[in-house]
Subunit: 256 residues, 2 copies
């Protein structure tokens, strides 16, 4: 895009009121949080129950119409699931799309202050609202399956057995969420306390304050019983970058 | 409990149909997943929007009536939030409690197979359904605040400035979710493929298969600008155990 960062418009549903200095509406930031989350939490209502239902799902932002779209462009969310699952059946039945909420969250640190009530997390969290419907176009389904597989390990798709079998395609459902609205909330920085605690010398001599960085890391790959080859470069590069980047980010945000 | 493990009864809302060999209904397993999750995703409906809303929140299973209750006993879920937030206002208004769904998920590994469609995660995920209402009893509120603070770092509460100030208590809302139903889904083990792929020698010579362990880890604590003391033992013990246990679990489940 270059010139400016697109934002989701602030409306009743997505406007962050509490600690709104942590609020972000930029598509780029929101989409990056979604795409870096290994599990998304997808909420929807069913006709027969008073409770909303949350499903943990794998998903990824993308654009089938314009696959070269930037992460900060308007994108759709593709979700992957078993074809006969409840959410897929509801997505199939909903003409306008089923209203869903999708959440993606990372914990980046434990923020420990003098008072329990000034404790916090460093975190990146985002929520998207949209309408989910089942994708029927075979080409778009293939686009989404490749997108989602490559979100687990970049470049994995073309290193697996292709093309998919008929049975594989038949058992896999793809939901597309047209995004209606979204927002993110991000907390970075060190511990903070109220003045009356900061002036309490005894307290300061007693309580450790600061940030414990938290990050997801990957260990050494463990080969299957039938594996025959060494860990390929595209995998080891990814694991190394994943660990380095996550550790660095969690450390970077420990300071104001 | 000793003699047997209590289970949430299987009903329409919580019965897992897909891959039901991965389903778990034991309270102990479900509560342990919830209590080990740093962020819970809480879904609820609002009167004014077609979309369910998901909030990332901090929470913990416990029993105010019987604080010594075992993790496998019937427990309530306590959630912590800002007192004037939307969910707190809805919880205040709902006489019978507001219907909510709470999800807790851990990714434990990337399971990489010959076919993209046989890829999976090792994971532990759980979903609880229940009715949330605001806690008004001051003693129960204190119980929940201590419970939740100690879930971030065990034993932290009594190492911070106590008692809470009036302003702190007034600005903190506690929601209690009476659990109606729940289930968990757990995947462990190595990669698996269909026979036709296993018999494809060229494919096996080309595709790496196995599990990449994934775990949350904590880094070296970074002191605040005003911190004066060394990292205390209760913190360093916790961080060491957290890292060792998570790494070991992710590694243990890479094998069948």
């Amino acid at each position: 895009m270059g010139r400016y960062d697109l934002e989701y418009p602030k409306e009743a549903i997505n406007t962050i009121k509490r600690e709104n200095d942590r609020a972000v509406y930029a598509l780029k930031t929101i989409h990056e949080i979604v795409n870096s989350c290994q599990i998304l939490h997808v909420s929807f209502n069913t006709p027969s129950q008073p409770f909303p239902v949350i499903l943990p799902m794998i998903g990824q932002m993308g654009s089938f119409e314009r696959p070269s779209a930037d992460i900060g462009d308007p994108l759709d969310l593709y979700l992957h699931g078993y074809v006969s699952s409840r959410i897929m059946n509801l997505g199939r039945g909903a003409e306008e799309g089923m209203p869903v909420c999708v959440a993606a969250s990372h914990v980046d640190g434990l923020v420990l202050a003098l008072s329990s009530f000034s404790h916090s997390y460093n975190y990146r969290s985002t929520v998207l609202f949209g309408h989910a419907s089942l994708v029927n176009d075979e080409e778009e389904r293939m686009y989404a399956m490749e997108l989602i597989t490559n979100s687990v390990v970049p470049d994995r798709w073309r290193h697996t057995r292709l093309p998919p079998t008929k049975a594989e395609l038949q058992s896999t459902g793809i939901l597309k969420v047209r995004i209606a609205s979204g927002s993110a909330k991000i907390r970075t920085g060190g511990a903070h306390d109220e003045r009356h605690d900061m002036e309490n010398q005894d307290l300061q001599d007693k309580v450790w304050t600061g940030v414990v960085p938290v990050q997801q890391t990957m260990g050494e790959p463990v080969p299957s019983t039938y594996n025959r080859i060494d860990v390929p470069g595209y995998m080891s590069e990814f694991i190394k970058d994943f660990n380095t980047d996550n550790t660095q980010y969690a450390l970077d945000v420990t300071k104001d």
